[in-house]
């Protein structure tokens, strides 16, 4: 019996096109990913490494889940759907045969989808190198076990779990829609839990909470080096094994539970009919005369009633509400949770939560829309009502329009819903600033048109492709292909990607700002295109029985006349007009280049201009500038007089200038405009047909009127304009908002800019470029010492800026604000840095700021005003930044040297600016950083304070002492400023409460270390950001703990004074800082300095056991058992035991945390001791007063060591 039913199921399935489609999709996804290497890979990781196969299989099994839901849901439901139940019960069928036959017959196909994935991977790895999509050396050997093992341990258990779940749900609930809703619920639930587990460090949560084991596999792979990833298969062991057994077990339990609960009688029992109240019987006479009319008043009410019935059909479906409620809960959780920085949530400000919806969640809404469009279009046919409906009098277009309107209503509902969810989420956080204009602009002006465009496409897909699931598949595949193309940078020309529009950000300064215009134009463009699609839909709309394509064509021809034709013609004209306007803006006024063309341009620059890299360049020593900013026109004019000094030994004849950041500029010298040649032109972009054949590269080569002899000075006038013509394909003018300008001084770059060179080796190879030489080659170190980090023209610059802006805005600039005044309704500001000058590139900010002014006594009799400029809506944390300045300014002045400017400024910048930045006298924080943090618990880390003191430290480290152009020199700016921030946090939170501050950074460094294992350098030659910044800060802070604050400050002061505002080389590098430190470290501690600066050293200290014996009188004897170890990285990038070890490491015993007067919880060390330990296991006993709760080895994270095993709870033994 089982056999017959099983075989029947196979035959039945094989006749359905769906299974082939799913098989193909599974295959194609895997094939594309592996043929193009579109996977998250390490640099040296093979595309087909066992690690990447395992990771891919775990992730893709979620996608296969959708297919399995379609396959596993129907086999039982089919008998209900087709009413075969009526006679099925009369057949001699056994329960086992029926149940298992159907299950296995369907599962075979799910199994085959899994095989399709593996097959796709295999073929992809073969096709990739064969067709030259990827380099052959990016693929390793294809071993069978690399495929078999993940198939058996990942694909099969995952599919078994989902298949059993879906099969069981239908068997028990006897409804097939439960599949769609549970599939979506599972997906949403999964994404939601992923959202939370990502931030969790709990191994049990990471490994066990995930039925697809994606987290597990990623965690395990994350800890492997590239070579391990290339050779090791993910072994099922430990928690990962438990996960696999657990979820496979859950699947089997569900299956058997279903099996035991399943009975024919119950399953085939007709659906109970609800009893509704009977209406009293009346007798009716034949109605008197009534009028039937199809005149003018017929169409509108009929359209209305048709739309109403259609909407009722949608909303009376319970599953609709399940999906909506699930999505709503999901969105609500995301909204109310919002972004977290350093464990502190931001206020759920409208402009901040909405992007969570518009950027990611919108895909979910697209899926709902295309699904319900299918339901709406196929409703008559799938219910059988079509036979009645189609013979009713309304014209085709009325039926069509009613359907479209009902889906539009759904779109409007789905557009407005996020607003209500957003408001509820905001209320739940006690946040009452509902920014309705933002909701309105984002949802109704940007979002709704996109949803409507999408329903239009869905509409025509569902009409033209008569199979509902195929249309659904085509639509969803289209969404993902577009997403893939755009996000991979492969193709993003919005004029050719249906329903795509330029990207935009949501800033509280300007909301959508100027981007509303291009977005509206693109929306209009796609709406018109959508309307044309609707016309196609209308022409091919099926009414009655249509048998052949020929008949459909004939009907379409018949429908295409009169109004329909005129309407189409008008639409086409409007569409072409809009398309032309958009094209004119995107590809004529502006030049659009594909990602590939942009790379080709960068390669061309390198090929043609690289030889200018070593051309002698003068240094800029003075800039005197007047600038006029017109924010309302997004335009700025700059007139500068730049003093250039030839500090080289050869005469300078020509200057290479890079002006691609400016709209136009000209140079003059002694009243004469300088002429120039253009060393490089780019060919016209593929999509800019009507533009000129060649486009400027931005580079110009100027001949100086007379050569600039060594030591000579020349003044050059620069007149530059920055403006924006029309709109572009993507986001533009992000730093030139109506309210919120962040700009440089409008000067072209001097010399060849190697920052723009292609970096990825694959890209370089593709464009015929040689391997990129190291940025700081060892043999050029001597030369690097003689110049500053940044361009060769960099020097200490004296500046004098006079800037005007509109009457309601304020300009924040560098250095000292000399004067500010109002003239002709415009605000003027004069900023200077006359003596000694500034090292960092100056910039200007202009916006409608609110401001707070305070001051602090920096040195004996000197008060420094602190001026803070912020968006008036973001007032909550202003005092935290001020407090940071007020604490740090006196401290830094005292220990490092006086503050060099007359004011200290803090300014808020829009979302388009970097999160944090600093220039002389001014620190800048982006609006998403700190300003909106919702501090509501004294235990939270005040990262505004942290960021404030850190940015202020850069006024010493960077502004006064500038790094030279050698490897690791950024330690001086990034590392020292982080160290300073740690020191000032320690002053705020106490010596023993720094784990929350240091721990995150340390984890980040260790995480980065795992990812870039082959790329590790000692601090002296630090190249990664995690080394120059995070690690440097950490080891300096550790050093402070060993040698004391005064000693390290003395060393830093010496270093500071030696390099303070120097204009002549040698400039300061990491080595110089190191040698200053060395002088102040006693011999007994030199090992620490050497370990941290000259080697890559990692400790592995862990607490093994902590026991306490009460001694009476509140005394306890605590015995600590722990192990210590230290490793050095060798030449092969492997960690080797350090051999000798006798290092100072803290041990401590803690009591219960105490709460300080601010309500902040603090650690309560009962015993802290720094002792020397060798490698190995140690047991130490100490006597403490007070009940011990835990104890730790290096509990304050002074060393580079994995933090999570350093502290263990204490067991008190009687």
């Amino acid at each position: 019996m089982l056999r017959e039913i099983f075989l029947f199921e196979l035959q039945y399935r094989l006749k359905k096109p769906g299974v082939y489609l799913y098989f193909l999709i599974c295959f194609a996804f895997a094939f594309t990913a592996f043929a193009n290497g579109a996977l998250p890979l390490d640099e040296k990781q093979f595309i087909n490494s066992p690690a990447s196969i395992a990771e891919y299989v775990s992730v893709i099994s979620m996608v296969v889940m959708l297919a399995s839901s379609a396959i596993m849901g129907v086999p039982l439901y089919r008998d209900i759907e087709y009413n075969t139940r009526e006679y099925y019960l009369s057949y001699p069928i056994t329960k086992a045969g029926y149940f298992w036959g159907r299950y296995l017959g369907s599962f075979v196909f799910v199994f085959l989808f899994g095989v399709a994935v593996m097959l796709g991977i295999y073929c992809g790895t073969k096709a990739g190198p064969l067709f030259g999509w990827q380099d052959a050396n990016r693929y390793g050997p294809n071993r069978f076990i690399y495929y078999l093992q993940p198939f058996l341990t990942l694909a099969l258990p995952n599919l078994l779990f989902t298949s059993s779940l879906f099969f069981g749900l239908v068997a028990i609930l006897r409804n097939v829609k439960v599949i769609y809703s549970s599939g979506i619920l599972l997906l949403l639930g999964y994404i939601l839990s992923h959202f939370f587990t990502r931030s969790s460090h709990n191994q049990y949560v990471i490994h066990l909470s995930d039925p697809f084991a994606i987290n597990s596999v990623q965690t395990i792979n994350g800890g492997l080096t590239a070579s391990e990833k290339n050779t090791m298969i993910v072994q099922p062991a430990g928690l990962y094994l438990v996960n696999r057994l657990l979820w496979t077990g859950v699947g089997i339990v569900i299956l058997f539970y279903t099996w035991f609960r399943f009975s024919f009688e119950r399953f085939f029992r007709p659906v109970r009919q609800k009893k509704t109240g009977t209406t009293e019987l009346k007798s009716f006479n034949a109605p008197g005369a009534f009028t039937v009319s199809f005149g003018k008043k017929y169409k509108r009410p009929v359209l209305f009633t048709l739309t109403k019935i259609e909407i009722l059909n949608i909303i009376r479906d319970n599953y609709f509400w399940i999906i909506i409620v699930a999505g709503g809960i999901f969105l609500g959780v995301i909204f109310s949770h919002g972004y977290m920085i350093n464990g502190v949530r931001n206020f759920p400000r409208t402009g901040m939560i909405l992007p969570l919806h518009t950027k990611n969640f919108v895909i979910f809404i697209f899926c709902i829309l295309i699904f319900y469009t299918g339901e709406v279009i196929h409703r008559e046919r799938s219910t059988g009502y079509a036979f009645i409906n189609d013979a009713l009098p309304p014209a085709d277009w009325i039926f069509n329009l009613a359907k479209i309107l009902s889906i539009f209503c759904l779109s409007v509902f789905l557009t407005i819903l996020p607003m209500f969810i957003g408001i509820v989420a905001q209320l739940s956080r006690g946040f009452y600033v509902f920014d309705f204009p933002v909701y309105f602009k984002v949802l109704l002006l940007c979002m709704l048109p996109r949803l409507i465009q999408w329903t239009m496409l869905s509409f025509v897909l569902h009409i033209c492709i008569r199979n509902k699931f195929a249309a659904l598949g085509v639509g969803i595949v289209y969404i993902f292909l577009c997403m893939l193309a755009v996000e991979s940078g492969y193709f993003n020309y919005n004029l050719l990607l249906y329903s795509y529009e330029p990207d935009y950000g949501l800033s509280d300064f300007d909301v959508i700002g100027h981007m509303l215009k291009p977005i509206s134009w693109f929306n209009l463009y796609w709406l018109l295109c959508g309307a044309l699609l609707l016309m196609i839909g209308y022409l091919f709309y099926i009414r009655g029985t249509v048998n052949s394509f020929k008949e459909r064509m004939q009907l379409a021809r018949e429908r295409f006349h009169g109004n329909a034709m005129w309407f189409t013609v008008i639409l086409i004209i409007a569409f072409i007009a809009t398309a032309s306007y958009n094209y004119y803006n995107v590809s004529y006024l502006n030049h659009y280049y594909t990602g590939n063309e942009e790379m080709a341009q960068r390669a061309a620059i390198e090929k043609t201009l690289k030889h200018y890299e070593d051309m002698p360049l003068p240094k800029v020593t003075d800039i005197k500038m007047t600038a006029d900013l017109f924010p309302e026109k997004q335009t700025a004019y700059f007139n500068s007089l730049v003093t250039l000094v030839n500090k080289t030994t050869v005469p300078i004849r020509e200057l290479l200038l890079d002006g691609d950041n400016l709209t136009d500029y000209s140079l003059e010298c002694n009243g004469a405009v300088l002429s120039y040649t253009v060393p490089l032109l780019f060919p016209r972009g593929k999509f800019n047909f009507f533009g000129p054949a060649f486009d400027s590269s931005g580079y110009r080569l100027y001949q100086l009127p007379q050569p600039l002899a060594p030591g000579d000075t020349v003044n050059i006038g620069v007149h530059a304009t920055k403006t924006f013509k029309g709109f572009t394909n993507g986001l533009y003018a992000g730093n030139f908002l109506y309210n919120g300008i962040v700009t440089g001084l409008g000067l072209p770059g001097l010399g060849y800019d190697d920052d723009e060179e292609l970096r990825k080796e694959d890209d370089r190879k593709k464009f015929g470029l040689p391997k990129r030489k190291e940025e700081f080659p060892a043999d050029e170190e001597a030369a690097g010492v003689n110049r500053l980090m940044g361009t060769p023209a960099h020097d200490l610059i004296r500046i004098d800026l006079t800037v005007s802006t509109s009457g309601d805005q304020v300009v924040v600039g560098p250095g000292t604000l000399e004067k500010q005044w109002n003239e002709n309704g415009r605000n003027y500001f004069r900023y200077t840095c006359a003596s000694p000058g500034i090292y960092t590139s100056p910039g200007l900010l202009s916006a409608r700021y609110a401001s707070v002014h305070d001051s602090i006594q920096a040195e004996d009799s000197r008060y420094i005003p602190i001026d803070l400029y912020y968006n008036p809506a973001h007032y909550n944390n202003v005092q935290r930044f001020i407090a940071a300045y007020k604490t740090a300014l006196p401290y830094y002045s005292k220990v490092f040297g006086p503050y060099p400017f007359r004011q200290a400024r803090i300014a808020e910048a829009s979302i388009y600016a970097p999160w944090t930045n600093s220039m002389s006298g001014t620190s800048m924080f982006g609006e998403r950083y700190g300003w909106n943090a919702d501090f509501n618990n004294p235990d939270q880390f005040d990262y505004c304070y942290y960021a404030g003191v850190r940015q202020l430290a850069r006024q010493w480290w960077g502004e006064q002492v500038a790094p030279n152009h050698t490897k690791g020199a950024e330690v001086i700016t990034d590392g020292l400023s982080r160290y300073c921030a740690y020191v000032l946090c320690e002053k705020k939170y106490g010596k023993y409460n720094m784990n929350a501050v240091v721990g995150d950074d340390l984890n980040w460094y260790l995480w980065e270390r795992r990812w870039h294992k082959g790329d590790q350098q000692p601090l002296l030659h630090a190249s990664n950001w995690s080394e120059k910044d995070t690690k440097a800060g950490h080891v300096l802070f550790g050093l402070k703990d060993l040698i004391g604050e005064d000693s390290i400050n003395a060393a830093l002061r010496e270093f500071h004074d030696k390099y303070l505002f120097i204009t002549n080389p040698p400039f300061a590098g990491a080595k110089d800082l190191y040698s200053c430190l060395q002088k102040h470290v006693p011999d007994s501690l030199q090992y620490y300095l050497k370990d941290s600066w000259e080697r890559v050293t990692v400790y592995d200290n862990r607490m093994i056991d902590v026991k306490a014996i009460p001694l009476g009188d509140n005394h306890y004897k605590v015995t600590l058992t722990f192990s210590t170890a230290k490793t050095y990285m060798d030449e092969k990038d492997d960690d080797q035991p350090a051999g000798m070890m006798n290092d100072y490491i803290d041990i401590a015993v803690f009591g219960d945390n105490t709460v300080n007067k601010e309500g902040r919880s603090e650690t309560n060390p009962l015993y802290v001791q720094k002792c020397r330990f060798g490698a190995g296991e140690h047991t130490v006993s100490v006597t403490v007063t007070g009940k011990p709760v835990s104890a730790g080895i290096d509990p304050f994270l002074r060393l580079i060591d994995k933090p999570w095993d350093n502290i263990k709870p204490c067991t008190v033994v009687k």
Binding site: T276, E280, F290, V292, F294, P301, T383, D390, A391, L392
Partner: protein, 295 residues
């Protein structure tokens, strides 16, 4: 009103010739369509109901070209398909009200009256608030009748309307049809020959897409007057009789077989002449096309 079908033909893409050169003229009153399953009755009706295109031929309803002026036809049409479904989550009352609007009954009060009247007539009044998805087969069929008669149809096409109705309901329906069907053309397809003889002023027999007979039931029966003979024979002899006579129907009753044959002259051999009925007409007609074997 007059419906004229001339030289109508339709071949499906799978090669089945559903309608072959059909020409019929229908006047006001009931017109029955008789024919075996798959004869093309439904295809013909669908074509008249504007739901299907024809390959050749014309259909003219007075001055309306049915195949082209579909909207005009639909405004006069009441159609009950052989098989149909409903929106499961909508109540009968709401759905009928909706359909009434679509059929041009724009006055709310009149519509309500009409809906209630029809619901009462098809005996669904007490269930009018129930969702259609909960209706049984018979209830659904009655709902279908109600919607077909909604508005002021001048052309009513009902495809096997009494399927699934009990005899009482059937009578009720025919009475209703007669009541509403005054001054209208009613096309009714059925398997029940008796229905045609009691109800229809004219009828046609269709087989394999062709019209084999069209006219009044009386004319049809008259044609066979004196040509039908009956005999009771034993079962094993039936093949023998089939070889020798034109057997048009056989009926097994209590172990004995009663056969009816068509013959211009008395075949003797124990046959007795009987009065022909419409069933004889039906079997005689289609017997020329398909092999009817009633045992």
């Amino acid at each position: 009103m007059q419906l004229t079908i001339s030289k109508l033909s339709k071949t499906y893409t799978n090669g089945v010739k559903a309608i072959r050169n059909v020409s019929l003229t229908l006047n006001e009153g009931m017109f029955g369509l008789l024919g075996p399953n798959g004869a093309g009755k439904s295809s013909l009706m669908r074509t008249i109901a504007t739901l299907q295109e024809a390959d050749e031929g014309t259909i003219q309803l007075d001055d309306i070209n049915v195949l082209k002026q579909k909207t005009e036809v639909r405004q006069l049409l009441g159609y009950l398909p052989q098989e149909f479904g409903v929106y499961p989550k909508i109540s009968a009352e709401q759905m009928l009200d909706h359909i009434a609007k679509l059929k041009g009954v724009s006055n709310k009060g009149e519509r309500k009256e009409l809906v209630n009247y029809l619901l009462d007539k098809v005996n669904l009044y007490k269930d009018k608030r129930k969702n259609l998805g909960t209706y049984s087969g018979g209830m659904k069929q009655r709902f279908g009748i109600a919607q077909a008669l909604m508005g002021k149809p001048r052309l009513i096409i009902v495809d096997e309307p009494t399927a699934g109705l009990d005899p009482a309901e059937r009578n009720r329906f025919y009475n209703l049809l007669s009541e509403i069907g005054l001054n209208t053309i009613v096309i009714l397809s059925t398997h029940i020959v008796e229905d045609v003889s009691t109800l229809c002023s004219r009828f046609a027999i269709i087989c394999e897409g062709e019209v084999l007979f069209s006219g009044t039931p009386a004319d049809a029966i008259n044609q066979l007057n004196g040509k039908i003979y009956s005999k009771t024979i034993s079962k094993q002899d039936v093949d023998n009789y089939k070889r020798n006579y034109k057997v048009i129907s056989t009926q097994l009753k209590a172990g004995e077989l009663s056969i009816r044959v068509l013959s211009d002259s008395n075949p003797r051999d124990g046959f007795t002449q009987v009065y022909p009925d419409l069933e004889d007409v039906y079997f005689t007609s289609i017997g020329s096309r398909v092999d009817i074997n009633t045992i």
